[in-house]
């Protein structure tokens, strides 16, 4: 799995591409943790753009869960956006779309993020 990064004015956007399965989960988790650790000073929000994510296994869901918790502890806004139908189904079936904030597209996710940089 490949991960691209984009830094906006008030948000860091991660764009994972391909399949987030058990094998890819550990590497992805490390990347997300790094971004969250750096986000405290750099930007107010971390957004994961899932438009290029084809598949998420339960191990992948766990990374999103851990990231949500870590962001809450650190007071960083964290959200997912632009889920493909297959990934959306996994989130809906597992109930994760009820506990992780998911937006329809990136524009909405950015608009929902806090408008002032995090202290």
């Amino acid at each position: 799995m490949n991960i691209r990064f984009e830094t906006l004015a008030l948000a860091t956007v991660l764009i994972p591409e391909g399949r987030l399965d058990f094998g890819a989960a550990v590497g992805f988790q490390r990347q997300v943790e790094e971004v969250l650790a750096g986000a405290g000073s750099a930007s107010a929000a971390v957004i994961i753009d899932c438009s290029a994510l084809d598949y998420v296994s339960s191990a992948g869901l766990r990374v999103f869960l851990l990231a949500t918790r870590a962001a809450q502890r650190a007071g960083i806004s964290f959200a997912l956006c632009a889920l493909t139908p297959a990934v959306r189904e996994v989130f809906d079936l597992s109930g994760f779309s009820r506990i992780i904030s998911v937006h329809a597209d990136r524009a909405t996710a950015v608009a929902q993020a806090p408008q002032t940089p995090h202290e």
Partner: protein, 433 residues
């Protein structure tokens, strides 16, 4: 065996023939000289093999002898420099020098013979140092004016010492590495053996047979993935004649998932006996799992309570793939009510109960995503459609037979691609009373 031998013989004779052909073009004297050289070098090659190449007592003694002579010769260069040395001492030093050079020359010769690439050795650092260590002795006879300079050159024998020490260090490191590798391999074998035991235990705690009850037939199967997984199923005989059925999938893989699976299954089984409603049973299991979840793992669970007398199936779903009901007429329904949060994620979860009635001939199919997300070599998933096609095509036969058919279909679809996730299936058929 016979054929192989024949081929080898014919290849051997072909080589001989080629050799003869090449030699037939050469003058007889050259051939004879080459043959003679080969015959003469054979014992030298044997000696090189014994003293340099093959590790053993001879090689060790030879190596130590060389080291001792290097030290001795460097020391005697120092002694030589002392002015007014008595004549007997000078003679002794001369004899010692000759002996040293003789052994070094032998060593140099043997190293050339033993080397795979002879020129490469001669021009290597090691080869040049060896040559410079003995060259002054031979050249001294040619022109005495160079004697003083050449004698100084003998000090280069210190470099010889360095190459020997380097070699010894490399050999030592290689040995250490080999030892460490062996220890690592042993540790790995032990871990693998323990994992195999753990996996066998994991399979053993799953019920092997469905409770024998009139009016229903059930079966289940779990095919563990290559790494330890966290799927499980369960049949629980409840006190009022009903049967609890569960299928579950723990997030991730490996030992943590397997542990979490064991804890989840034990809690669920325990609570199933105390809570008549599936939703309440899941909610209580969730509280217990959340209270003891240091790794932030979670498990999706579908749990239902089936009454074989009435065919009523009450169920609740905590984040699991919705099961399917195949009606006797071949139609297929997905059991709604999915979307409950997986267990272990957060306390306070509510799991509403739903009800469906199975009529005689109807069957319930529970599965984990190891079935639908079995990938083939072309990276395509088995998918729900293929699963449903199998379910629809096989309305008759036992529950076990349907599971067997689905498993065969999945494995033949996946082909040579490795099984990345546990494959778990449970089928319940209501029979005419």
């Amino acid at each position: 065996m016979r054929l192989g031998a024949t081929v080898q013989e014919s290849r051997g004779s072909a080589q001989d023939r080629a050799q003869r052909d090449r030699e037939s073009r050469l003058p007889i004297s050259v051939v004879a000289a080459r043959r003679a050289t080969q015959a003469a070098t054979a014992p030298v090659r044997g000696l090189a093999e014994l003293l340099l190449l093959r590790p053993g007592p001879y090689a060790r003694v030879f190596e130590n002898l060389i080291l001792a002579l290097i030290v001795l010769s460097v020391a005697s260069i120092g002694v030589e420099a002392i002015p007014g040395l008595p004549a007997w001492a000078t003679r002794a030093l001369r004899v010692e020098e000759m002996a040293v050079v003789a052994v070094f020359s032998l060593e140099y010769l043997l190293r050339i013979v033993a080397a795979r690439g002879k020129l490469a050795f001669i021009f290597s650092f090691h080869g040049l140092v060896d040559l410079l260590a003995i060259a002054p002795f031979y050249l001294a006879g040619v022109d005495a004016r160079w004697l003083r300079v050449l004698r100084l050159l003998r000090l280069l024998r210190v470099l010889k010492l360095q190459t020997h020490i380097l070699e010894a260090t490399v050999a030592e490191r290689t040995r250490e590495l080999a030892d460490k590798n062996a220890a690592l391999e042993q540790a790995q074998a032990q871990i693998k053996a323990e994992l195999d035991v753990a996996r066998a235990l994991q399979l053993a705690i799953l019920p092997a047979t469905f409770p024998a009850k009139p009016g229903c037939d059930g079966a289940a199967r779990m095919i563990p993935a290559t790494t330890m997984g966290g799927d499980f199923y369960d049949f629980i005989e409840l006190s009022d004649g009903q049967i609890g059925l569960a299928i579950a999938d723990v997030a991730g893989k490996g030992v943590p998932a397997a542990f979490f699976m064991a804890v989840a299954r034990t809690n669920l089984r325990d609570l199933a006996a105390r809570h008549a409603d599936p939703g309440a049973c899941l909610a209580q299991t969730n509280e217990l799992l959340c209270a003891q979840n240091p790794m932030d793992l979670f498990v999706t669970v579908f749990y239902c309570v089936f009454d074989p007398r009435t065919g009523v199936l009450r169920y609740a779903n905590a984040g699991h793939n919705p099961p399917y009901v195949r009606r006797a007429d071949g139609s297929i329904e997905m059991l709604g009510g999915a979307g409950g949060v997986a267990l272990g994620v957060m306390p306070g979860g509510v799991f509403p109960d739903h009800t469906v009635r199975l009529l005689p001939g109807d069957r319930l199919v529970l599965y984990t995503d190891g079935v639908t997300e079995a990938f083939n070599a072309a990276d395509e998933a088995y998918g729900t459609q293929r699963l449903l096609a199998e379910v629809q095509a096989h309305g008759d036969g036992t529950a076990a037979a349907l599971i067997e058919r689905i498993c065969r279909s999945v494995t033949s679809f996946a082909g040579t691609a490795p099984q990345s996730d546990d494959i778990t299936l449970t089928v319940l058929t209501r029979q005419a009373p």
